[in-house]
């Protein structure tokens, strides 16, 4: 329609490999002093072929690209299980204080008492909120927290002189749970949920044996329900000599309302990038500290903080009762995220943390109540926690799939909910509003979903199957992408260009 292909403020942007030039740079540097090279025969002889852009070109390139993204700062981001809440800018500012951002993990510990104090303070908040004995801060994200917790469990079992080879995982679990168990060589036994979306103690008991090392249970679970028999399950697990690994991705529902430690959890990772608002950044970084019960605490990996505030960095430097299972990452974990998470905690305080959980749960139930008549709630009988699960039944016969429905939401200005997860209901739509939405925002979202549900029912299926029509791209051909994957840019051969 336009000559340029641009549409007003929506401006097309090529790849840097198409615009940059290897002799251009956006970084001026002082002259290089003449020295005798010590690179020996390994000095680079091959070109890198990396294009450069000047600063103005760089700004434009990335600003234009950014405008093709949705973001929390643009609107509700109701991805169930992801807890896309507001990211306070104070936290960004604090993380950039030179005393946090410009310190090296290996400078003498005597020169970073503030950093160690911050880690100790964060540990205090995490253990107090969860009612647990200890915390290993270093895991880099939730999945690594799972690894840490499961390794501590394995070490504890080994310390008892046993070996156990099975881990129980409910079917509704997040993919990282079975992946983690499998990575550690465990056999994964799936536990079926009941009709109402929760796990029964009975089913767990039936699966238990002295070969079971642990259960990995998400609570609230990924259907957005609090497991009513969690304490009984914990008791059964413990009775069988196994451990209770809690997936804490959904901790945002219950902070200040109940403590996982009281429910019998032995280890639980906490995604600081979910419950504690460190930004997702288009996929990361996160941080996944794992809290540990008294029984597992001795096995925490290095580095760990002693009660006296000292940091133990090496296994050979351990004292009595300190039997770390190893090290999960170089250095001390995600300090930048610790600062942000602690800023969040200090800002909220005990009262604000509870309010956050309550508002998150309230908002999810409000959505549930407001849409129950036009969409189908997967498990209507129990209160939802911080997220509510719909399934595809309301779309039956409309020719509209869950995917289509989600894509139509994009045109309406919303990011879709999590789709097709958990796997336990067909065409799942998991909606997590978080506590960050105003009532006006929730009402707008609800009204749009009602309109869409009605439109689907009324046969306006093109609105869905053709969606999105108003986004920076229409649907992408993902199978083509996977069949002949193009993963890096390849400069077109000059003769190919000429031939065109």
């Amino acid at each position: 329609m336009t000559f340029t292909g641009n549409e007003g403020l929506n401006i097309a942007e090529p790849l840097i490999f198409e615009t940059g030039r290897t002799d251009v740079t956006g970084v001026d540097l002082p002259d290089v002093p003449a020295v005798q090279s010590r690179l020996g025969k390994l000095a680079r002889t091959t070109p890198v072929d990396l294009p450069g852009l000047t600063e103005p070109e760089t700004m434009r390139h990335y600003v234009r690209l950014s405008r093709q993204n949705y973001a929390i700062d643009l609107g509700i981001y109701p991805l169930g299980s992801c807890t896309m809440k507001h990211n306070p800018r104070l936290n960004e500012k604090a993380a950039r204080m030179p005393g946090f951002a410009d310190i090296h993990p290996l400078q003498p510990l005597s020169t970073v008492p503030g950093a160690l104090a911050l880690m100790a303070e964060l540990s205090r908040w995490l253990t107090t909120m969860t009612g647990m004995a200890a915390v290993a801060l270093s895991p880099k994200a939730g999945a690594q927290g799972e690894l840490a917790g499961m390794m501590a469990i394995r070490a504890a079992i080994k310390a008892r002189g046993e070996t156990r080879t099975t881990v129980l995982v409910p079917e509704s679990a997040h993919g990282t749970n079975p992946a983690t168990a499998a990575a550690l060589g465990y056999k994964v036994t799936a536990i079926k949920a009941r009709e109402d979306g929760t796990v029964s103690a009975e089913a767990v008991r039936a699966a238990l044996s002295d070969d079971v090392a642990a259960i990995m249970l998400t609570n609230p679970n990924t259907c957005g329900l609090f497991e009513p028999e969690v304490a009984e399950i914990a008791a059964a697990i413990h009775e069988a000599g196994a451990y209770f690994y809690g997936d804490g991705a959904n901790f945002n529902a219950i902070v200040g309302k109940t403590r996982p430690g009281d429910l019998g959890v032995d280890a639980m990772h906490i995604n600081l990038h979910k419950t504690f608002s460190t930004p997702h950044g288009g996929g990361g970084p996160g941080s996944g500290p794992v809290v540990l019960s008294e029984r597992l605490a001795p096995f925490a990996p290095v580095p760990f903080l002693r009660a006296d505030g000292t940091l133990v960095e090496r296994q050979d430097a351990c004292g009595e009762g300190e039997v770390p299972f190893g090290r999960l990452t170089a250095f001390h974990g995600q300090m930048g995220m610790y600062v942000r998470a602690l800023a969040y905690m200090l800002s909220h305080g005990s009262d604000g943390l509870r309010e956050a959980s309550e508002d998150a749960v309230l908002s999810a139930n409000y959505i549930k109540a407001s849409l129950a008549d036009v969409m189908t709630v997967a498990f209507p009988d129990r209160p939802a926690m911080h997220e509510v699960l719909f399934d595809e039944r309301f779309l039956k016969g409309t020719g509209v799939t869950t995917l289509d429905f989600a894509k139509a939401m994009i045109d309406e200005g919303f990011h879709p909910m999590t789709m097709y997860f958990p796997l336990v209901v067909p065409g799942a739509m998991l909606v997590e509003p978080t506590e960050s939405e105003s009532l006006a925002s929730l009402d707008l979202f609800i009204a749009a979903l009602r309109d869409l549900a009605n439109a689907a029912r009324e046969g306006d299926s093109a609105r869905f199957t053709e969606a999105p029509r108003l986004a920076p791209r229409r649907r992408l051909d993902e199978t083509r992408g996977a069949r002949r994957p193009i993963l890096t840019y390849e400069t077109p051969e000059p003769f190919a260009e000429a031939a065109e």
Binding site: R259, E435, R474, L487, Y489
Partner: protein, 443 residues
């Protein structure tokens, strides 16, 4: 609470729509005896002003790198980050977006990842790269497991020049495998060729090594490949690749490294960004996300996550890795900084780093009693000091000089008189002179 938009009126209205009288009615599934009555025993919420003050006071207790001469490296490096990088990564649309599963409204992130993958592949001299790992050390562990999957072998050999913490991480994470580590190698003289046996899945070699030596992978790779063994090449200083031959050109099969040096601050160790590159033939065994080029329904070029059948959210217990959240924003910072540098900037930056390190090495070698162990190095080298390295580092710190890392801090098996010293473009001649002078004083 300033972050919570609901008012009490809103809450009352919502409760009535839901049909309950209090929010606690929504928590009935929590076992009654485990419901918390009052508040947690933690301080109440604080103002932004108050929180800022508290955190600023903690930060002020730390000696920031910028406060004086600084020569600490050993896996993380202090480089200058252009202001535009930090500005851009804070754009709401980058900072506050999720993993780009909805490609139609995530083209910004996806195109960036495609650019990142291409940059990493070109930098390392490899064919493909993924969309980032947590950091270099965990990337190294993933590489080892990938090599084991490809070769269906279980034995892994770690060279003596590998960062001790990387070694520990591989040892911890690669649980099903037999990991053998060669003795630590401060002089860079170990004979890796003859350590290769044909039951190895891979050999893991860091270059520049932990002690700073440049290792020629080529002869080792030849020997390894002859035995069906993969070469996993590791680096901790991405800037080095601007000045030295890329591992891909020397025969590496998998290249992993720490990308912090480009675009990312020291942050006391994290978040960083793991770079992970490999050969096309092995792409289906790679861990982590991949962005790929494709077209949309109108035929327009676009990008989407691809080959997800390797990943945990699709493949669950059969996944190539359990990684989910990765280092997206750090990868963005890397990409932006690398786009600013370009080949010309990167090469100049690398040579400036090298020059400052050479000047530092020469200045320290001139301090009586001090010797430099390296024939070759990039921006980091090892000195032997007459005395306990850790004690000397503490003394230097008291004089305002952060002089490097005692090798024995990370590796109990390392001699206790070695200091690993790094210089970068941030190192000034005055810093070098001061270091040499104070080192002379404290010895």
């Amino acid at each position: 609470m300033r972050y919570h938009p609901l008012t009490s009126d809103d809450r009352a209205l919502m409760l009535s729509r839901i049909g309950v009288t209090s929010v606690d009615d929504l928590f009935v599934d929590v076992p009654a005896e485990h419901r918390l009555d009052g508040l947690l025993p933690l301080p109440k919420g604080a103002s932004e002003m108050g929180v800022e003050r508290t955190l600023a006071a903690m930060a002020a207790q730390n000696r920031a790198a910028g406060e004086g001469p600084f020569f600490v490296g050993a896996g993380a490096y202090r480089h200058h980050i252009p202001a535009s990088v930090d500005h851009l990564i804070q754009r709401s649309e980058f900072l506050t977006s999720y993993t780009p599963y909805q490609a139609e409204i995530s083209q910004g992130t996806l195109q960036v990842l495609f650019e990142f993958q291409t940059q990493v592949a070109r930098l390392t001299g490899m064919e493909v790269a993924n969309a980032s790992m947590y950091d270099g050390s965990t990337g190294a562990a993933e590489a080892v497991m990938m090599a084991a999957r490809i070769t269906r072998r279980k034995k892994v050999l770690l060279a003596g020049g590998l960062h001790p913490q990387y070694r520990d991480v591989i040892d911890t994470i690669a649980t099903g495998l037999e990991v053998e580590a060669l003795p630590t190698d401060p002089t860079g003289t170990e004979d890796l060729r003859s350590a290769i046996t044909d039951d190895l899945a891979c050999i893991v070699i860091q270059t520049p090594s932990f002690y700073g030596h440049l290792i020629d992978l080529k002869p080792i790779a030849e020997a390894a490949h002859a035995a069906g063994v993969l070469v996993v090449s590791v680096f901790t200083e991405a800037v080095a690749l601007g000045a030295i031959e890329p591992p891909g050109a020397l025969g590496a099969d998998i290249v992993v490294g720490e990308g912090q040096s480009i675009g990312n601050a020291l942050n006391f160790g994290g978040p960083y960004v793991g770079l992970f590159a490999a050969k096309k033939a092995h792409v289906r065994q790679m861990p982590g996300r991949l962005a790929g080029e494709t077209v949309d329904a109108d035929g327009r070029r676009g990008f989407a996550l691809t080959l997800s059948t390797r990943e945990q959210h699709i493949r669950r217990d059969k996944a190539t890795s359990n990684i989910c959240t990765n280092s997206g924003l750090c990868a963005l910072a890397f990409t932006i900084h690398m786009s600013l540098l370009g080949e010309a900037g990167l090469q100049k930056l690398a040579h400036l780093n090298h020059a400052m390190a050479v000047q530092t090495a020469d200045a320290l070698a001139a301090v009586p009693g001090v010797s430099v162990l390296n024939d070759t190095f990039f921006n980091e080298f090892t000195i032997r000091v007459p005395g306990n390295a850790a004690a000397i580092i503490e003394k230097l710190a008291r004089e305002g000089v952060l002089g490097g890392v005692p090798a024995s801090r990370l590796d109990p098996a390392a001699p206790d008189d070695l200091i690993i010293v790094a210089a970068t473009e941030m190192t000034s001649e005055a810093d070098i002179a001061r270091y040499a002078a104070i080192l002379g004083d404290v010895l």
